[in-house]
């Protein structure tokens, strides 16, 4: 798994880049067994239509550019695309938006992915501290992380015990256990994600600087989770 991930990282580094686009980040994560939805990087609208028909509509289009780290700010994501015609229209739109956002943005391709059914949003991230090295972060997504900063950290590597503690430590924990009659979320899937990220970072320590898996959708118990978006910032080599 390390080789596969390294290949992606080395290529980005050889191109003088210090971050991975979503598609690349997800390949690195997938190499470590993280739950990445089936998706494909395509280079033209025909290919996109073909893949969309293969996986079935509705789909999501995300334009991949090393110069565009914040895709929603640049409006290069098209959600809930329902037909061939809509797809071609959306294709043009996100390319125009990319140009508007950054004229010389280099475009690697477009990621075509199935429109995932929504789950409880969580964020799993990695940061690097000058004294302690890499640390893992866990929190609920959306306003919980944006406004309430309801997150918890542990120094990597973590043990399974640490992962469970992190989940229980956040104030929003009851939201995951089934508040207001909702089914409890798949906590085992969250623990699994955290342990895999911890292992990934440990093995690729000298390459990884920071990382966001944001959001991750977590489904009811037994139904797993899916990494919706991911970003990896590389260490300067």
């Amino acid at each position: 798994m390390k080789e596969e991930a390294l290949e992606v990282i080395e290529r980005a580094l050889s191109q003088g880049r210090s971050s991975l686009v979503e598609y690349e980040a997800k390949r690195v994560l997938k190499a470590y067994g993280l739950p990445i939805p089936e998706e494909k990087l395509v280079e033209n609208p025909d290919e996109a239509v073909e893949y969309a028909n293969e996986i079935g509509y509705p789909v999501v289009l995300k334009l991949m550019s090393p110069q565009i780290l914040h895709k929603s700010d640049a409006k290069v994501v098209a959600l809930n695309v329902g037909t061939d015609e809509d797809l071609r229209k959306a294709w043009k739109e996100i390319h125009n938006n990319a140009k508007k956002y950054k004229d010389d943005a280099e475009i690697i391709g477009v990621l075509v992915a199935p429109m995932l059914k929504p789950g409880k949003e969580i964020i799993v991230g990695v940061t690097k501290d000058p004294q302690f090295g890499h640390a893992l972060m866990f929190g609920l997504g959306g306003i919980f992380v944006e406004i309430l900063k309801d997150v918890t950290f542990r120094i990597i590597p973590i043990e399974e015990k640490d992962a469970w503690e992190m989940i229980k430590n956040i104030k929003g924990y009851p939201i995951l256990t089934g508040a207001r009659g909702e089914p409890p979320a798949d906590l085992e899937a969250i623990v699994d994600i955290m342990l895999r990220v911890s292992r990934l970072v440990r093995e690729l320590e000298s390459y990884i600087k920071e990382m966001d898996l944001n959001p991750v959708f977590v489904y009811p118990r037994g139904e797993g989770a899916a990494v919706v978006d991911a970003r990896i910032i590389l260490e300067n080599h």
Partner: protein, 465 residues
């Protein structure tokens, strides 16, 4: 790494010793003599001659190299410019540990750091360990060693205190005396150019005179090294850290969301939680906990019993227990036994209210009962000053009952009142029963003991939820 000579040196040289009160070199000499250090003391001063400290006459040597016997520890208190030469001479003499009091090194900036590093390398070359520089010295009460320029009469006890800060460290030395907090060791580590928190934890882990460790910390250089030591030591002895500088590095440039949320303080918090370190948020809290952790045995179960003579403090203590997640024992059938020590209008429901009619005798009966009961695992005694409760009698019966029981369960006391109560608090603390002037502080301290105990238990047996 062996640091035996830092705590149990057979001989000490004071480089920069002076007979002139007000000088640092005098204060260290005076403390060594007055605190009763029994090994050899060699004052070193370029002037030579003789000096008299507290009626004891010493020959003064011009250099450590002139001293006839061996020197285990050399305390260096000369101006920074002379330190490199002293380090050389100490190395050649075969000194083992070198607390460098002198300031004017790494704390001044890059150039100072460079000189400091050179000193450490030089010392290492001779197999010598450096403490500091920029420190106030070392205390180890079991060997009657007070090699500091702080207060003299440190109370012997089982809490080891490591301070990164000099001024605050000295101030707290005085404070521990006033507050009757017993110490096993006190080490000022200043710039931590060589010996750091982790090295001391490693030593104190095995020190039979130390039961708990308190660290005043501003920062650590090698977080991983600290974590490794702290996690291992926490399995045996509790560590309390008071970490200053919570607001540092607000605006670090980061590219990820995670990075923007990860101020240094949250990382410290994570490291402490992962290693069982108890983080205190004020000096009084840190020492409150340290007092309990260094004196009390671990609880054998979750059931806490509160014995009080006032409903008000009982309620406040109950609130504090709730906040801290402590479990109040609630088996009414068993609690009924406390009715023997209260008037009919008392309440044996936990908190057990002996009422304002209680004298030392009722407290004695209730405490003995709680200490002997197999389902009561920890005891909190609260007392408000009343006209009929004699503080001195109360302290006596509590000490006797606890000692007779073999001190097998944790016991904390809160005494709310005036001068007589304050005196009784001191007596109880001097006798190893952690006693506080407020119920919340007593509860907070026993809660710290439970937190450490629970972390330790979880380290040993953890079951997937």
């Amino acid at each position: 790494m062996d640091m035996e000579e830092l705590f149990n040196p057979e001989s000490i040289a004071i480089v920069g010793a002076s007979a002139k009160p007000g000088k640092i070199g005098y204060s260290i000499m005076r403390n060594l003599v007055e605190y009763g250090y029994e090994g050899s003391i060699y004052p070193i001063n370029i002037k030579g001659g003789e000096m008299t400290i507290k009626d004891r006459k010493f020959k003064v040597y011009k250099s450590v190299l002139d001293v006839p016997g061996k020197i285990d520890m050399a305390v260096v208190a000369v101006p920074a410019a002379h330190v490199p030469q002293v380090v050389d001479e100490c190395g050649r003499k075969g000194v083992k540990v070198l607390p460098i009091i002198s300031s004017g090194f790494g704390e001044l900036g890059e150039e100072g750091k460079r000189i400091e590093q050179q000193l450490v390398e030089k010392a290492r070359g001779y197999g010598m360990r450096v403490i500091g520089p920029n420190i106030f010295g070392v205390v180890y009460t079991p060997s009657k060693l007070n090699a500091t320029f702080g207060p003299t009469d440190i109370i012997p006890g089982k809490l080891a205190f490591i301070s990164q800060s000099g001024a605050l460290g000295i101030a707290l030395m005085g404070w521990t005396i006033l507050e009757k907090i017993g110490l096993s060791a006190l080490v000022s580590i200043g710039n931590k150019s060589d010996v750091d928190d982790a090295d001391l934890l490693d030593y104190l882990e095995k020190d039979k005179n130390t039961e708990a460790i308190l660290i005043y910390m501003e920062g650590i250089k090698d977080g991983r090294k600290f974590m490794q030591s702290a996690k291992r030591v926490s399995r045996k002895k509790p560590i309390v850290v008071i970490k200053a500088g919570r607001s540092e590095r607000g605006a670090r440039a980061v590219a990820s969301h995670t990075g923007s949320l990860a101020g240094a303080d949250r990382i410290y918090t994570a490291a402490f939680e992962q290693t069982g370190v108890l983080r205190a948020f004020s000096i009084s809290e840190a020492f409150d906990w340290g007092r309990a952790l260094s004196n009390l045995p671990e609880p054998q179960g979750d059931n806490v019993v509160i014995i009080t003579n006032g409903g008000g403090v009982g309620v406040m203590a109950t609130d504090a227990c709730e906040e801290e997640g402590l479990k109040l024992y609630d088996n009414l059938e068993e609690l009924k036994v406390f009715a023997n020590y209260m008037p009919p209008f008392g309440s044996y429901k936990n908190p057990v209210d002996l009422t304002g009619m209680a004298t030392a005798a009722e407290y004695e009966g209730a405490l003995k009962t709680a200490l002997a009961h197999p389902e009561m695992h920890a005891v909190v005694v609260l007392c408000c000053q009343t006209a009929i409760l004699d503080a001195k009698d109360l302290a006596d019966v509590l000490i006797n009952a606890y000692t007779e029981s073999g001190r097998k369960k944790p016991l904390v006391v809160a005494m709310v009142g005036g001068t007589e109560f304050r005196e009784a608090i001191n007596v109880l603390n001097e006798n190893g029963i952690p006693t506080y002037p407020e119920p919340e502080r007593a509860i907070g301290s026993i809660a710290a003991l439970y937190r450490w105990h629970n972390w330790k238990t979880k380290e040993q047996v953890w079951r997937r939820p």
